[in-house]
Amino acid sequence: MNKKIQGSAALVAAAALAFGAFASAPASASVKTYSLAYQGPLTGGEASTGIDEQNAVKYAIKVFEAANPNIKINLVSVDDEGDPAVASKVAPGVGTNRKIIGLVGPAYSGATIASLPYYKAGNLTVISPSATRVSLTDPKSPTAKSDYGRPIFHRVVATDDKQGPALAKFATKGVSSPKVFVFDDQSSYAVPLRGYVEAAIKKISGASVVGSGDSVINTTTDYSPTIAKIKSSGANVVIYTGYYSAAAIFVKQLRDSGSTAVFAGGDGVFNQEFAKLAGKSAEGARLTGVAGLADVDAKLEADFKAKIGVSSGVYAVESIDAANIFLSGIKNGKTTRAAMNKWVKAYNFKGIAGATIKFNQHGDISEGGFAGFLVTGGKLVNQGPVA
């Protein structure tokens, strides 16, 4: 093939491409496409939480697109593995991609802190369905300089200063003179939550915090020193404030050691996958989390399964609410980052669970709390709200 023919072949190809694009254009002439993003762990040890949330966002988009045929939403998946180190690598690209006008997530508090500088710089509004660390919305916290997310950070979930007491209460419920051993995984979610849990236990009459606790990084697989501490402390309740994949490894070793102490965890452990990974050892574990979609509305759950192909997972309600806030903004013509930020700040509508969603100046909602879940027969069974 000589150069001339090569050149004209390229020209034909380019023309075909252009024509193709043109030919398909009339059919979608009035359809406009906007980009939203979801950020959370989509691979890695915590992937189950992220995939659950992203499915819920996809569901909200599907419902929205069906009701608004001339708007198409392009969902950008941002995988931070729930890990601050990964988040700080992916966030810059998201922050500078001006096509993305709103982001549901980040799912985890540590990853949120790592991403915030880039989203603040790009004025990208984020609504997290599950980041519960208090300092994200607290201008007075000692770490506010790096953590405080105003004006772009919002969340549709309650915070750990509410979760701590709920977890303490639920973990010790029905245990006579509870002696509680608390440990964390050194993450920016787990360490402060542990503080709230310990403070709350001291307020429960008859209950006490025993042992010196522990702080075990989540790459650990040998929990024998921690278990030795638990045994030595005589604890009958063990609370872990980290995430589910490490919790599953730990609880197996705890049960193998012959311990029958109650095992409890926060919303980091709250995932179907915890019961699956830990098998029999997970039975009876007490977790704080949020009500699922099926608890809120069985019809909605059936529709979710029909549209997405799988049942909804954890934080489905929160993720749908977060997505809906952005989607209603797009419907109302808020298609730039600045306009979207104003829209979210002024938002005042009912979420799918019926409660009003309205953010205060720090990005928190006033409603919302935590429910207790008991692992029974390999499933997380809702025991109702823990006040």
């Binding site: 890695g44 702080s215 790459t219 697989t221 501490k229 490894i249």
Partner: protein
């Protein structure tokens, strides 16, 4: 501060020993290769990780066990465990030989310096772990429970569990077999000859490349055995577990005197015990710090490690 340590001393010791024996076998992987090539095979940590997947593949895909299966019993139990052990060793052994072929042999043939091989080792380590990360979508993989973790007896308040007992005894036996192999067999003598003086060994008609391949294979087999015990005790693996375990085992090898097989043994045991003791006294967050402080102190006063003289030869 010391109350947990005193109260749970024997329990901690049993756990520390089980962990220590796993370190011993991985440390052998480092020490064997170092003895012969004077090079740290940084890919050994990933060879270990591949071995753990071998053990899980064996129980899951050859015997169709899953997370909800009942543990095996009797003859079936022995069969599954032995097959798991062999598959893990085969995975790790073959990976080790492959690493030697791909990353080191050609460099050696061109007479490059050791630094180039060292970089190549780090590269191989990254490739092996990234491949597994992609294959598993970075997710942890749980191992089906094959061995029911029966508490056999209690000695001074320490539970002796079946899996820890098997680990300690079997890992000890494998160590002795490998040590005897290097000390007594013809091939073992060739390995030691190459380690003492490469040129002289060549002149004596020893096939250098063959000796090196066997060294990698033996180191890989030991590492693979460690992987099997790890999976049996912890029932879990992930693409990145090699780093922590490898670093600990490498430290154990240096502690005992790298290149020295018995050094690897004592280094591994000392490290396993030091880890659990330190974690119980200071808190788990201080575990790694303590280990490296111990390492630095040992090297400060005895630069060649506890058993020393590694720089001159592989000792059996």
């Amino acid at each position: 501060m010391f109350d947990v340590f005193i109260d749970q001393f024997w329990q901690l010791t049993v756990s520390g020993l089980a962990l220590g024996f796993i370190y011993v076998l991985i440390a052998l992987g480092y020490t064997m290769v170092y003895g012969v090539l004077r090079m740290i095979n940084f890919a050994n940590s990933e060879i270990f990780m591949w071995g753990t997947f071998g053990a899980i593949v064996a129980s899951r895909d050859l015997f169709n066990y899953n997370q909800t299966s009942e543990p095996a019993t009797g003859g079936k139990l022995a069969l599954v465990l032995i097959v798991q052990l062999f598959v893990a060793m085969a995975f790790a052994g073959l990976t080790a030989v492959l690493v030697e072929f791909v990353a080191y042999r050609r460099l050696r043939a061109r007479g490059t310096n050791r630094l180039a091989t060292l970089i190549s080792a780090i590269g191989m380590s990254m490739v092996l772990s990234e491949v597994m990360r992609i294959l598993t979508h970075s997710r942890p993989v749980g191992s089906p429970r094959i061995l029911e973790k029966v508490i056999l007896t209690e000695v001074w308040g320490a539970q002796i569990r079946l899996d820890t007992l098997i680990t300690i005894l079997a890992a000890g036996a494998i160590f002795i077999i490998l040590e005897r192999f290097v000390k007594l067999s013809r091939m073992g003598k060739a390995i030691r000859a190459v380690s003492m003086n490469e040129d002289a060994a060549k002149l004596m008609g020893i096939n250098l490349n063959r000796v090196i391949t066997v060294t990698f294979l033996v180191g890989g087999l030991a590492t693979g055995a460690a992987a099997f015990f790890y999976v049996t005790v912890f029932e879990y693996t992930k693409f990145n577990i090699g780093f922590t375990m490898g670093l600990a085992a490498f430290t154990a090898a240096v502690l005992g005197g790298i290149g020295n097989i018995r050094g690897a043994f004592f280094g591994g045991i000392v490290l396993g015990l030091a880890e659990v003791y330190a974690a119980s006294i200071l808190g788990t967050q201080w575990k790694s710090v303590t280990i490296f402080v111990v390492l630095v102190l040992v090297l400060l006063f005895k630069p060649s490690g506890l058993f020393g003289e590694a720089v001159t030869q592989t000792r059996a």
